[in-house]
Chain length 276, copies 2
């Protein structure tokens, strides 16, 4: 414990709303304020319950920084109409991120079991070409998040940092960055070199731990320190890129969701101090 000063924790820690999935946006913001957390990662379904402009006002009044909005992307779809609907949904997500003055809009690129993998990956290339210019006009930084390869069949056909870099290369780093999440990237045998190549593309750093054995493909994520990921080693790699922004704690875990949220906040702050 105590590697971080309490001021450093306050400056860097961001609560991703999915860690306290049962809280509404106003409840999550209130929880951050009471626990001294200065950054929050918001999810769109919770923004939309409140309404974007009410949410933006509430955030502004709170003085809390929106480190990210989750999420755009989801480009692959077997039909052209379906793909067009996804593009329009991305435009809406960009508008929301702009209203909330979020540091970035996270892109989970999507996957569709009925679309062959190479085709799906091309749909991501094509989708980015549609939305990046719109985001630049809106002043929103997009950020590609590679997801763990176990999600390649149904959530994201973007599964490595190097693939994210290849997708991002045509665009300015201020327009299209990359989100690094310990859960998704820790296994990569060339991790250090891949993170180093991200340089100014790093748009966010998410932390949680990999439990052994993995309890569930989606819901089995652990608090930092509960699993096998050497988070400080990865944080050092991210620090070395020059990234100094918020570090989001994003944990999909049913037992956390069943806990009183104040207890979750205490656990998040303590495990961040000790294991990040």
């Amino acid at each position: 414990m105590g590697k971080w000063s309490s001021m450093a924790i306050k400056n860097r820690l961001s609560l991703n709303q999915m860690t306290v999935a049962n809280l509404t946006l106003p409840q999550a913001v209130d929880s951050c304020a009471r626990h001294g957390v200065l950054n929050i990662g918001l999810w769109r379904h919770r923004i939309e319950e409140v309404g974007t402009f009410a949410a933006a006002q509430l955030i502004k009044d709170s003085g809390i920084n929106v480190s990210s909005v989750c999420r755009g992307g989801m480009f692959p779809d077997p039909s052209a109409n379906g793909r067009e609907a996804r593009i329009n949904d991305n435009f809406r997500a960009i508008d929301q991120a702009a209203a909330l003055e979020a540091d970035s809009l996270v892109l989970v690129v999507g996957a569709d079991p009925s679309v062959p993998l190479p085709d799906a990956r091309q749909m991501v290339v094509d989708g980015l070409a549609r939305i990046v210019p719109y985001a630049q006009t809106a002043g929103v930084r997009l950020a590609l998040e590679p997801l763990h390869p176990m999600y390649a069949g149904d959530r994201s056909v973007l599964n490595t940092i190097d693939h994210a870099l290849a997708l991002a290369t045509p665009y300015d780093p201020t327009a299209l960055g990359i989100i690094l999440d310990t859960f998704h990237i820790w296994w990569d045998p060339a991790l250090e070199a891949a993170i180093a190549r991200c340089t100014t593309r790093v748009a966010g750093f998410h932390v949680c731990d990999w439990l052994v054995p993995l309890p569930d493909v989606l819901m089995g994520r652990g608090l930092m320190g509960e699993g096998v990921i050497e988070i400080p080693r990865i944080r050092q790699m991210v620090d070395d890129t020059g990234y100094e922004g918020p570090i989001e704690v994003e944990i999909f875990n049913q037992s956390l969701w069943n806990m009183p949220s104040d207890e979750v906040m205490q656990k998040v702050i303590a495990s961040f101090a000790a294991y990040v």
Copy 2:
């Protein structure tokens, strides 16, 4: 159906014993003989029930080829004594593969939650240096099998083809090959180039499918055609390396294990004919 002639199926199809996990080795061999399957992948716990030399005699009498023995490897261990025990177990596995005249001994390199990932990967390098010379003397080809990254915490710290190639480079391809398994490699964004780099290192090709959603991290594998992997596309890449050996059907799936084995054999042969 019918992409393969029945003769071609007989020549290439290998039944990995884990697909009919409830059968003893004599039962699995009998099942192959009755269904016209000419190759089998054996597991050591089933070999050891019979005794290595009795198993070798039984295999010889059957005329069936042993495409692989599963498995050696499992190098990482926090203690030096533990690691030495693993090396000795590999020597025993090599002796068994030699007695059975197997095409290769599959190496699943292992992982240990108490050993940091970079250290575990070094233990694999060190372990290979110990066992490859022994295997060469015994006339056994070793074969590294990269496992899906979701197993990096508890089963294998070798998770990509490129990493397998880096580990194998110091050794002759006839001494240390690589097993390509569709379930473990299909997600790789640079798959085609990685397989092409394997050239003469390809020591085996395993097929099964990735179900969506994934029912279970270990037991959720599907029959070919039941999931999202484009197996013929990957088979073409493997064919292009010049590999002409057995193609093993290895499926960990509890519902298959609950089925009468003759029914499983029929399903394996039919899905191989239609979807490989």
